[in-house]
Point group: C2
Amino acid sequence: MSTSSETNDIEDGLTFQPKFDASGLVTCVATDAGTGEVLMVAHMNDEALRKTIATGEAWYFSRSRNSLWRKGETSGHVQRVVEMRVDCDQDAVWIRVEQTGAACHTGRHSCFYRKVAGGEGGAQLSFVDADRLFDPAKVYHK
Amino acid sequence: MSTSSETNDIEDGLTFQPKFDASGLVTCVATDAGTGEVLMVAHMNDEALRKTIATGEAWYFSRSRNSLWRKGETSGHVQRVVEMRVDCDQDAVWIRVEQTGAACHTGRHSCFYRKVAGGEGGAQLSFVDADRLFDPAKVYHK
């Protein structure tokens, strides 16, 4: 258990002490600095955080590939970080970015290109802002 | 391993099939529908997702308390959901909300009230939009 003074320091202090989960990761939300749209939700380990802060470009840790990656290293669709913030318990960061091209590997500007709405037979999805800005097959040579 | 057709259906289909992690959770990002500000990052289990969709108010699953909670049930600071979206691999949802009062348990409108910036001795935090809209000691009777 954390003590009350530790909690106060994490929540109200000015020391950056990211709270990594059991896999060594924090959650990162990237939004478009111009529109406020959420572009993607991904993860950063300590090295990705450090590189993002040091370089001003977004680096992440891929859980599926188990490796560090610079956003856009394959596609060229880099993210320039305008501002980084951390939340109250320091287990999530929010970056406002200038996105070159598209954030999503499917070719859309944002990964959130489907709306969820309730219906009689349960929740249904519908496309919204789902135009592809690039052809993933060409960019990733799949 | 998922097959290519399964991946296609998850990414390009219109069936809502949230991909819960080992703890049965998806990540949820809540943004202010008016300003685009990220208010909080939290988690939803299947029941929280269903209740949020059915009621139009945000429900979450607290990992620390291991229980479902309706946002604002203690503080009155509820979130009315304007829109819900799901991301490409369906392991994260984004809700745009009208926030009554403040989203953060510390009394701030957003949980992201500190900026992270690099410095000579490592990353440093500074307060930004950190005014308290309520006194947590009074609201939560701590």
